[in-house]
């Protein structure tokens, strides 16, 4: 039902604009008149949840683990590394980088940056050195999706906040809206700075915003997120709405905190401290 209304709206809007009206109409017609109808569905092996969430156990974190998570995520998602030496032959005349324009999906921060309003005066010593992984919180009430003027960033039914890179116009309103600095903008073509392109995931073009996608492409194939696999048990991803899930058991047994809870965005990433 929903799908047919959606495709109708799409066709109608395209026709109204008058761009490519004919092929779109033909296509819609060819779809509806046939005896059988094509069906779009999830992969059988796909992992599903009512609301995906994450628990990060800070007791299990070390610098190596934090680094391995970033590395696993960034290399699999073709996140450019501005420190990478550009292949002059393939990308001649590449201009020097501005490190302030770098791109990050998940990266370690000091405790007082990850939790800026929990700066306890006499914070326990170990927290001063702890590499806290920060990433998109996939908020329940996400301010970025509210701000986006084209629904290029949106909340999926399973709680994952995603980017539609095809639709993003690069206004960066979502970046102003995000209270967690989780989003990065492609100020330039990222390809010269990708050491090894992973063919299983697209790169991005210049001019769009990107961020952690909770490995939606992995979940769709029944695989676990990269950071979880690289975390040696420090990260557990699961269904927050399922009382029997591993992640809910962890939340029941440990005291956890979330980043900037007071803003009411309901982050889905919990930290065991």
């Amino acid at each position: 039902m929903k799908k047919s209304r959606r495709s109708f709206l799409k066709v109608a809007s395209i026709a109204a604009i008058g761009l490519g009206a004919a092929p779109a109409m033909n296509f819609a017609a060819s779809n509806s008149h046939g005896a059988a109808k094509a069906v779009k569905d999830k992969n059988e092996e796909a992992l599903t949840a009512h609301r995906w969430g994450m628990v990060i156990d800070t007791n299990k974190l070390t610098d190596e683990i934090a680094e391995a998570m970033t590395e696993a995520c960034h290399s699999a998602h073709n996140v450019p590394d501005f420190n990478h030496e550009v292949d002059e032959e393939k990308y001649p005349n590449t201009r020097p980088v501005n490190m302030k324009q770098e791109i990050k999906w998940i990266w370690p921060e000091k405790f007082h940056y990850a939790f800026p309003y929990k700066e306890d005066e006499f914070l326990a010593e170990k927290f001063h050195h702890l590499p806290i992984p920060v990433l998109c919180n996939h908020c329940k009430e996400a301010p970025c999706t509210q701000a986006c003027p084209t629904q290029a960033t949106f909340k999926r039914k399973d709680g994952i906040v995603l980017m539609d890179y095809h639709r993003c116009i690069g206004c960066r309103f979502c970046m102003a809206a995000c209270p967690f600095g989780a989003r990065s903008f492609n100020y330039r073509d990222p390809r010269p700075f990708i050491a090894e392109t992973d063919p299983d995931f697209p790169t991005r073009s210049k001019g769009v915003v990107e961020k952690c996608n909770l490995c939606a492409e992995r979940l769709a194939k029944g695989e676990r997120p990269h950071c979880e696999e690289a975390s040696e048990g420090a990260i557990v991803v699961g269904d927050l709405e399922d009382p029997e899930s591993d992640i809910r058991h962890l939340l029941a047994e440990h005291y956890t905190i979330r980043r900037k809870q007071s803003y009411g965005t309901e982050p889905s990433v919990y930290y065991i401290v």
Partner: protein
């Protein structure tokens, strides 16, 4: 302004506006329309997502629908009317577009170049064959 000036101005304008047509006729490549070549698996598979003519005319609408389905609805599998099932992806997996049509240059580019269409798919999506 004299009548002659106006008329000659109009003539120059019309010639300029029609330049794509006469430039093609005079200087253009007179090769025949390229035919997308089916090589590798595609040559033997016989069944594509839609039939040949539908595909030629409407693959762009289909891909547009696919990308919304994959990105926004998390539906990645396409069970076509002809009974075959495909992964809705340009280039990842055996049952994606390039998984079957192995040669992008012959399958996508030859027609796109001929018709001066420059889709931005490949600004982000990668051709696995091009990554050494």
């Amino acid at each position: 302004m004299s009548k002659n000036m106006i008329i000659s101005g109009l003539v120059i304008f019309v010639i300029a506006v029609l330049s794509p047509f006469w430039a093609q006729a005079v200087f253009g490549d007179k090769h025949v329309v390229p035919k997308p070549e089916l090589v590798g698996k595609a040559a033997t598979a016989k069944k594509c997502v839609l039939d040949k003519y539908d595909m030629r005319a409407n693959h762009m609408s289909l891909l547009d629908e696919w990308r919304d389905s994959v990105v926004r609805d998390a539906d990645r599998r396409y069970d076509a009317v002809n009974g075959h099932s495909f992964g809705m992806s340009l280039s990842t997996g055996e049952d994606s577009c390039l998984g079957c049509h192995e040669d992008k240059a012959k399958f996508c580019d030859s027609c796109h170049v001929y018709t001066s269409v420059n889709p931005y798919c490949w600004e982000c999506h990668t051709n696995p064959k091009e990554i050494e």
